[in-house]
Amino acid sequence: MNHLTHEDAARWAAGLLDEGRATSLEAHARSCSGCEALLAEEARAEVLLAAALEALPAPGPHLPGFAPLRRSPRLTLVLVPLALAASLAVFFAARASAELDGPGGAAPRYEHEHQVPLESLAALAPVGL
């Protein structure tokens, strides 16, 4: 086997080689001090990089976006009618609420039946106070 290159050693240290290739590379390095030193050098770089990556804030969870949905006809058939139904429900609920409130806008609502509007209290107040 030829001597290792930096790229060979870097790929080995990063776990980017097939098992067979990694094994033969290790076998060669065991009998070749220069290549063993190369593996050690790349191992140190690998450990430093791993430490740097661990120190970085973890990336957010993987969000696939809508592309997979667009590619899924079954999901589309379910989700689109659901979305339309939800929109219609919101629309009719809003319209029904507006009809209840009447043309003058929202009617005052009170927590308790004995509550009266402040304007009514003002009308009852003695004149001149």
């Binding site: 870097a10 990063a14 063993e36 140190r44 450990v47 430093l48 740097a52």
Partner: protein, 180 residues
Amino acid sequence: MSATMNTALLTVEARALNGERAAWDELVAQHRRRVMVALLADGHSLSTAEELCQETWSRLWQQQQRGGLDRLELPGLAVTQVRFLGRDERRAGRVRQHAAGEEASVDFEAAVISRQQLSRVEQALSRLSAQAQRVFRLAQHEQLPHADVAALVGLSVQRVRQIVFEVRTVLRAELREDES
């Protein structure tokens, strides 16, 4: 989909915690290289690293058999164990340093990565293409096997490995530049 993959990985660890030998073999194959790299980086020779790795997995297996393992966080647990064994061997003077000698070993636990280095690495990551970022995140942070990453992103395993290698090369260059 990635959650399913993660569950599959956890299942291997759960099976190992139940004492299933095949699951242990699978975990050793998956994490063996990371454990060896930790020892080589500490200045041990390749042959010593292989011996200590063997001893580490053997100890973990025995500990599980005795009921002393309730969690199995890999490769962290194995790396911690192997570095402990490495220090022990070094104290006892039974180890042979690799060709680069004692001066090549670095105490990585004491190593400090500067804020500037982290910032440069973070910026370099943000400059990657969306596909490279996704591949690297799945392979590095979610630790999915390259074959699973390839299936998720619709690329060949070789292409995934090439992307990961290129990203790592860029990040290492950023670290080196800051060191110099």
